[in-house]
Symmetry: D2
Subunit: 110 residues, 4 copies
């Protein structure tokens, strides 16, 4: 991977998913391969329904990635905001992080 | 593309999407690039919500591909079955093609 | 039901789902009851996650209704258009019905 | 509503959505009416595509309810767990609440 050297050097850039980074990269690599496989099926004039089945499988795999990222956003970013000691900053931070999560879920549902 | 020589040689293998094949291949190529971009964002420790936004965009692009394929399945495979002259074969063919479409839509909704 | 007398009197008003009308009405009655049950849970201050589980169940039941209606649209309306004897009218009718199906699937996916 | 007297009497039963209870009940009442309207359309032999449009509208309304409940679960239940003073109980509580949220989102996406 060409950007492997851009490792986070400070806590500020460590996100929830960082500890599972390798697993996410593996899953996305596999999804990329699945998309390439679908293109090959189109190129080979495979039956449309068989292509649709593969497209559904990729959509499902992407949903699983989304769900993982959301779970880590909630567990890290929202909970992180809840641990802010200043009460005013805390309330504001929680609201912002919860709103982000909710907007992201809304985009997934649409 | 390595399989470009595998062109359909008889009508039997010409599917509904064949006339739009180049357009489908372009869209899938773009989706493949988007997935690679998401992997790069993970690798660069980008903010999880920004990654989620990209994942939603890919899911939406895949839905558009599915919808196009479904439309062509209905317009070609179902309608093709409806044009079968033998009434018994026709009824059977229609049932099979409609069932395939409905199952594919069900998989997309799940 | 107050509209029970409005039975279709000519073939023109008989849709694909008409033969399963009673089954659709039963399913919708059950879904209506499920929605009422969710309101009762909210009113009783039940745990939000338990309410969400019920909302997902209703969404799934509605998807099943949609899928049934779509299957009948494709099997009756699209196939009906394909049986039109005048070729020009036939092509136009098929295009219109397929477009309707595809738009409806698009709305379900969003 | 027959259960209006069952108001929460202790903090323990006050959930995130309690402050918006009346709004949720109004929305669910409207959804119940929409489902009844769909049954009426089926009973009146309305065109299947028009029925499908209404089913999509109800699905969308239910998604909005789900999104609201999820936002309140994250903002109240997850954040509540993050405010538990005992560190061991806190970590456990956060994990449980985040897992519940993630499972609920997963059910919505399916």
């Amino acid at each position: 991977m060409e950007t492997a050297e851009a490792l986070p050097t400070t806590d500020a850039t460590v996100h929830g998913y960082t500890s599972n980074k390798a697993a996410y990269l593996r899953r996305l690599k596999r999804i990329e391969g699945q998309v390439r496989g679908i293109a090959r099926m189109v190129d080979d004039d495979k039956y449309c329904i068989d292509i649709l089945t593969q497209v559904s499988a990729v959509t499902k795999a992407l949903h699983a990635v989304s769900l993982g990222l959301l779970e880590e956003h909630i567990g890290h970013c929202v909970v992180g905001a809840a641990n802010e000691p200043d009460p005013a900053l805390r309330a504001e931070g929680i609201d912002a992080k919860v709103k982000e999560a909710s907007d992201a879920i809304g985009r997934l549902l649409r």
